[in-house]
């Protein structure tokens, strides 16, 4: 179910002296099955944008279409939209509240009006999708590690069977292994279910490794919307807006600046290794 944004703007405090234009004339298409990275410095409009995609916020002007229907038109079922477009907020584990993991994940599907059995089946499937072992199902979510809690919170959203999954910095505060585990799990989930994933991240290294398209936000506008290598080639422009390229891109730049004829369109360690090996082989 594609999402189409047509000239969407959002102004906080419109018609007051404090008015701030957080989204400025944004047009985007989010087709089915893409893995998209959304990057931008703090305050660039990322979070405002994602909250429009499931109707939590209403645009000041412009239109948003989900599966061809205008989400602000009369009679549009926003509740259904929110189950189809799942949003995992930052530090989602702060929103866990049930006495055990399994009940927490059941909460969403139950609220959709499903039967207890149906809700439990979905909760079970969702917990399997995030790779949580059965042993944890009846533990208090508060006794789990940071990475496990976050999986439970993501499972809570997956149990709603969304077609689009939006994750706002799902790895903030996790250790490196925890970061890789969560992102590998999401990549696997995407491969297996064909779900659309929109990943909001401050880690350029992670974005470069996983996504096939990057949207860069700056001052409420879309600055770039391209493949990772195309985006990171503009590293100077990215730095000017508080971002950067992955570390490995700078290593390749250092080599190029000193006469190595290697590509600077490298964004992951594997690519860099291949590039350097090829360079030495050709000599």
């Amino acid at each position: 179910m594609p999402i189409i944004l047509d000239k969407v703007s959002h102004i906080y405090g419109e018609d007051t002296a404090m008015a701030v234009r957080a989204l400025d004339n944004i047009s985007l298409v989010i087709p089915d099955g893409q893995f998209i990275g959304l990057i931008g410095h703090t305050g660039s409009g990322k979070s405002t944008l994602v909250q429009h995609l499931n109707g939590l916020m209403k645009s000041t002007s412009g239109s948003i279409y989900f599966n061809g229907e205008d989400i602000d038109s009369e009679g549009f079922d926003k509740k259904e939209l929110r189950s189809k477009v799942g949003l995992v907020f930052q530090y989602p584990e702060h929103q866990l509240f049930e006495t055990d993991v399994f009940s927490d994940v059941c909460f969403g599907p139950k609220n959709l009006g499903l039967t207890k059995k149906e809700a439990e089946l979905r909760a079970y499937a969702a917990l399997k999708l995030v790779g949580l072992e059965d042993d944890y199902f009846y533990q208090s979510p508060f006794d789990l590690s940071g990475g496990q809690k976050r999986r439970v919170a993501i499972a809570g959203v997956l149990a709603m069977k969304p077609e689009v999954l939006i994750l706002d910095e799902p790895t903030a505060g996790l250790d490196p292994k925890g970061r890789d585990e969560i992102l590998d799990q999401i990549a696997k989930l995407k491969r297996e279910t064909g779900i659309t994933v929109l990943l909001v991240s401050h880690s350029m290294d992670d974005v470069a490794k996983y996504v096939d398209r990057i949207i860069v936000m700056n001052k409420g506008r879309v600055m770039y919307d391209e493949e990772p290598r195309e985006v990171f080639r503009q590293y100077q422009a990215l730095e000017a807006v508080g971002l950067a390229a992955p570390q490995v891109t700078y290593i390749m730049k250092e080599l190029r600046d000193h006469g190595y004829d290697v590509s600077d369109e490298v964004t992951t360690i594997e690519e860099a290794k291949r590039e350097i090996l090829a360079y030495f082989r050709e000599r």
Binding site: H41, G43, G147, G173, L174, H202, Y260, K273, I276, F280
Partner: protein
């Protein structure tokens, strides 16, 4: 004795059920020794739940040892009469900037600490000015904190700590919630405090590239110090760090990967320049 000395430190979290009976005991810090000299830049790494934050909270008497002793500037943290001295000697900065700022205006927030200590008004203003200048936030002194970016807020938090003239500052994942620019700003400010003001820095982080300039790195696992040494020594242990759920900077990893392919790359390469120079050697 250095600014911080820790001997045989053990700390246990005791879980109780609803009736107050002990359900289980988690040993968060298990027999740790630390020696930190005045002016050192020390980094502490470790996976979630490895005991880093629990250890850090002992350094300014938020937690007290169950066993062993912590001395801050020669004072035993278990002695109640020293608590305020210790908290003034070792200031702490936490992960979320929004939980640490209380003032309506930046300069008020920074002045809060020294005011509470009973510093005379004139000196408070001097301290506010020098602290904000030290973190590069002086031009924002009249701003409301909620108009600032994450990195700016975090630098205001740091200014609030250094206005109390600590000898030591403990930062518990200060960059976890920041964008790349914010992270860079905060790390730059912290390094400047260490280089210029000779304030002892203890930095806890999950970002490996932030610790390459540290004098010493401690890696925690299961409450114990698993590895310690210079950044170069620690990051030479790529496999061991991965076992401990950690990582190495990308440049270190790339050099390591090339070494596996037969390149003569030294262990623990830390900067892009070092990497390029090592590769130059391979070209010969």
């Amino acid at each position: 004795m250095g600014i911080i000395k820790v001997r045989d430190l053990v700390y246990e979290y005791i879980r109780r059920d609803e009736e107050g009976n002990v359900e289980g005991i988690t040993t968060a810090v298990d027999d740790v020794d630390l020696d930190i000299e005045q002016g050192d830049f020390v980094a502490i790494l470790g996976h979630n739940g490895s005991g880093k934050s629990t250890l850090a909270k002992h350094l300014n008497a938020i937690l007290y040892p169950v066993e062993g002793t912590v001395w801050v500037d020669g004072k035993d943290t278990k002695e109640e009469k020293y608590v305020w001295d210790i908290r003034q000697t070792a200031g702490m900065v936490f992960q979320n900037p929004d939980n640490q700022i209380i003032g309506q205006i930046v300069e008020e927030d920074v002045g809060f600490g020294p005011e509470n200590m009973g510093v005379p008004t004139k000196e408070i203003w001097e301290r506010v000015e020098e602290s904000l200048k030290a973190v590069g936030m002086y031009q924002f002194r009249k701003f409301s904190p909620n108009k600032l970016s994450g990195g700016q807020k975090q630098r205001v938090s740091i200014a609030g700590v250094i206005a109390m003239h600590p000898k030591c500052i403990v930062l518990d994942e200060p960059t976890a919630m920041l964008d790349p620019k914010g992270r860079k700003e905060v790390i730059r400010a912290v390094r400047a405090l260490n280089d210029v003001e000779h304030i002892t820095v203890i930095l806890i982080t999950h970002y490996m590239e932030e610790v390459i300039h540290a004098d010493k790195v401690y890696v925690m696992d299961q409450g114990k110090v698993a590895i310690q040494g210079t950044p170069r020594e620690v990051f030479s242990e790529v496999e061991k760090l991965k076992e401990l759920r950690l990582d190495v900077p990308q440049v270190t990893l790339l050099a390591y990967e090339l070494a596996k392919e037969g390149f003569h790359m030294p262990k623990g390469v830390l900067t892009n320049q070092e990497f390029r120079e090592a590769l130059d050697q391979c070209m010969r």
